[in-house]
Symmetry: C3
C-alpha cells in the first residue's frame, strides 16, 4: 500500500480487522516503529474525533506529529497547471506538497466537499495532488469521495458485536438542518461490500447515492420495511447526490427511534444532533455503539499508520 486514500487500499479487510483488534489489546506494542519519524496532519476543515484519534494513534506508535490548521491560516492553494497566479492563491499545490513531503514521513489530510460543484469536488484535488506530488504516503482523513478511516472503524465495531456470520446491515438516511457530504455513507457502503454482510440502504426518494458506489445494493424507500430483522442500523444524513448538495427533505419521520431500532445495534459516526437524527434514548440506549465506533477510530488509523510505516 502506497497511500490510504480510500477503502480500495484495503487488500483484505478480514485480516485488517483482526490486526486492528490486536492493536487495541496492546496499543503501545509498536512504540518504536515511529521513532524519529513525523506525521503531518493538514486540516482544511474542522475536526474533533479525527484530530484526536489520529494524534493518539501516532503517540502509540512513537511518531512525532505536526498539525497544520490550514483553513484558519487562510493558505490558498492553486491547482491548475498553467495559470498566472496573480489572484488569491499564494502557492501551487506542487510546491506545497513537495515541501510537506520533505518535512513529514507521512501526511494525513482532511478537505471536505464544497457541495456546490460535484464534478470539481469529486476530483478530490487536495488529496490527490498531495498523493501525487508529496513523495510520502498520504492518508485520507475525509475527502469528497470517502472517509475510509471511519468506515474501517465501523468495520471493526461490527466485527466486535456481530453474533451471526452474515448480519443484516441497514444504512438509514436521517434528516438534518444542514447539507452534509456523501463521504461517510459512500465509504460505509464500499466497506460493507467487503465484509460478510447483507446491506440494505433506505432513504427518501431523491436521496439516491452514487450508483458507482451502491452498485447492486438493495435500496428500499420504505424505512420500516428496510429495518425488518436488522442486526446493525447505521444512521446518517446526507444531502441529495443527484440534486447535488440540496436538502430535499427534513421529514422527522425518518429520525431513528427506539421503536424502529428494535433489537438492532445503533451506529453513527458522530457528531449527532439529538432528536433530529436519532432520539436521545437511542443514542444512550444499550444498543448504541457510537462510543465504540469513536474509540475504534484510534485503532483504525493506528493500523493504517503502522502499515504505511512498515511499507
Amino acid at each position: 500500500m502506497k497511500h490510504f486514500l480510500g477503502i480500495g487500499a484495503i487488500d483484505d479487510i478480514h485480516s485488517w480487522i483482526r490486526e486492528a483488534r490486536d492493536l487495541k489489546k496492546d496499543p503501545a506494542a509498536f512504540y518504536d516503529l515511529g521513532k524519529n519519524k513525523t506525521l503531518g496532519l493538514l486540516f482544511f476543515n474542522n475536526s474533533l474525533r479525527t484530530r484526536m484519534s489520529t494524534q493518539k494513534a501516532a503517540f502509540n506508535l512513537g511518531l512525532n506529529v505536526l498539525v497544520m490548521n490550514v483553513g484558519q491560516d487562510g493558505w490558498s492553494l492553486e491547482f491548475e497547471d498553467n495559470v498566472i497566479m496573480n489572484g488569491e492563491s499564494a502557492e501551487h499545490i506542487k510546491e506545497a506538497a513537495g515541501v510537506l513531503g520533505q518535512y513529514c514521513d507521512l501526511i494525513g489530510v482532511r478537505a471536505f466537499a464544497g457541495l456546490e460543484d460535484k464534478e470539481q469536488d469529486e476530483k478530490d484535488r487536495i488529496l490527490n495532488a498531495l498523493a501525487t506530488y508529496c513523495g510520502v504516503p498520504v492518508i485520507n482523513m475525509e475527502g469528497t469521495l470517502g472517509h475510509p478511516l471511519q468506515a474501517l472503524a465501523d468495520a471493526i465495531t461490527i466485527a466486535e458485536h456481530k453474533i451471526v456470520e452474515r448480519p443484516k446491515v441497514v444504512l438509514s438516511w436521517a434528516p438534518h438542518p444542514r447539507a452534509l457530504p456523501h463521504a461517510v455513507p459512500h465509504s460505509f457502503i464500499r466497506m460493507t461490500h467487503q465484509i460478510d454482510a447483507d446491506l440494505v440502504i433506505t432513504h427518501p426518494e431523491g436521496y439516491e447515492l452514487d450508483p458507482r458506489v451502491t452498485q447492486n445494493t438493495a435500496i428500499e424507500y420504505d424505512q420500516e420495511k428496510a429495518l425488518e430483522g436488522a442486526d446493525f442500523v447505521y444512521v446518517k444524513n446526507w444531502s441529495s447526490y443527484t440534486q447535488y448538495g440540496k436538502i430535499l427533505s427534513q421529514d422527522s419521520n425518518w429520525m431513528m427511534t427506539r421503536e424502529k431500532l428494535s433489537a438492532a445495534y445503533f451506529m453513527h459516526c458522530l457528531p449527532l444532533r439529538r432528536n433530529v437524527v436519532a432520539s436521545g434514548e437511542v443514542l444512550e440506549g444499550n444498543r448504541s455503539l457510537v462510543m465504540q465506533q469513536a474509540n475504534n477510530r484510534t485503532y483504525a488509523v493506528q493500523l493504517v499508520l503502522k502499515k504505511l510505516l512498515g511499507s
Copy 2:
C-alpha cells in the same frame, strides 16, 4: 481525588505545597508516570500562561498532550437533555465528553464565565458536564466558579516568601477597562482560608464578592486601612458580582502604587495593565512576585497531574 475542579479538591494544602516545592527542585523526577498516557486540553477561551505551563508540566511527566482550541473551531455544544438539536449546536456534551474520555487519560478545560447570566454561568456547565460524562479525571483550567490552579500556584508562592508563620494577606480590588470574571478572586479567597493567613478584602462598595465564598472574611472599604501591616497584597480587578458583570468604578485611586504597597509583597496573576491595575514600578520592583507566581503555575498543575495519574 477524582477530579480537580476547585480548591475543595485539595485535601491538605500544606502537604500539597510541600510536594509542589519538591517537584520544583526536580521537575523530571516522575518522567515515567505519564508514559503512553495522554492529556487533552480544551480551550474555549484564550490562554497563554495556563496553556504553556500545563503543557510544560505534562512534558515533565512524560505525558502526550492534545490541544483543542475549541473556541476557534466554533464547536457549539448542547447541554439540555430533551432538546431537538436543529439549531446551532452540532453535538451534545454527553457524546462529546464520552468521546474525549476515550482518547484522553486526563482532560483539562478552560471555559470562562460569560458575565451576562450569573445563574447560568455558575452552573459551570462545560466543566461539570465533562466531569460527569467523560469518565476520566478533569482539571479546571478556569471556569466561572474558580481558577484553582492559579490559587494553588499563589499558595506555593506565599509559602516560599512568608517570613512570619501567619502573614497578613490583602486582596485588593483594582480598576480595569473591561469587565473581568470572579474566578481568580474567589479561588484565591478559598485557598487563603486553608493556609495559615489573615485575609482582608478591600474594594469599593458594590464590588462585594459571593458571600458563600467570602464567608466571615474581613471586608474593608478603606484601602489604606486594609493595607496596613500587610505582608502580601494580591491585586486583582473583578466586575461587580451583585450587579453581575457590570463595571461600577474605574477609580484610579484604587491602583496599586509603591507608596501603598510599602514593604509588602505584590502579587497578581497576570496579564496586568500597567498604570491601571498597578504602577510599572510596583510590577518591576523588588517586592513583586508576579514572575514567581507564573513560574509556580507549572509546579501547581504538575502536582495536580501527578496526583490524578497516581489515583
Copy 3:
C-alpha cells in the same frame, strides 16, 4: 552566541555550513541534547515552512515544542514604558517575555513588518523586547530586519551546488500582486557578503534596498546584463524600500523565465506565485533548487538550536 536574531550572529559561516551538512547526514545524532528542554514558538504571522521545519528540527534534537499562534489569539502587547494601559493591550512585553522565559528554554518568534511605518518596523520591537526581557535565547523566525534562518538555508544550498570556488550570485527582483517585506532579500544579501560569492542585485529603479545592507554591492538595473554568467539566480519580490511598502511596478518583463535563467541555478524561498514571479518550467526545471532550499530549512534551524542549547 546568546541569541540568533540576524546573520550577524553567525561567527564563521563556512564552519556553520559544514556543521549543518553534517547534521543533515545524521539528523538524530544529537537527540539527547534537548531532553527535558522546551522550545516555544510564537507566531504573530502565518507560517508553513518555518513552522514545520522548526518543529521537525526540534524533534530531531529531542526538544519539547510549545506553539502559540499569537495572531489568532489576538494577544495585544504594549511596548512603551510609561503608558497607561487602558486601551487594547492587555499585557506589557516585559511581563509576557519574562513569563515565556520561565516556561521555555528557547524561544522562536515570527513577527512581520507592517510595511506602513519604516522607523517603527525597523525597531523589530517584539523580537528585540523578547531578547531583552525573556532571559533565554531567542531565535528570529522572520522579523522586519531579517529572516536569517532562510538565508542560512540558502547558504547551505549554494554550498551544496556550487562548482566554482566563487560563484556569481544574482538577486533578481520579481513582480508580485501584494506588497512584500524586505527581510528575505536583506538577510540574503548579508549572508552573501559572508560566503565566497560575487553578488549582483538587479531590480527596477525605485526598488533600491537599504544601503546599510547593500553597501557596495553591484546594483544593475538591466536584468539581462545582471544575469550574464550567473551561477545562482535568487528571485524575490519586495515592495519599495524608499517609498516604504509601496508597489511601484508589476512589470511582467521581470518574471524569471527559462531563457533568462540559462544554465544558472534557480532559487526562491517559497511560496512562489507561478507565472508571476517565475514561470512554471523554471520552478519545475532541473536547475530549480527550491525544494533543496526548503529541505535545508530544517538543518539550518537545527544547527541554530543545537548551538543555543550547547551554549
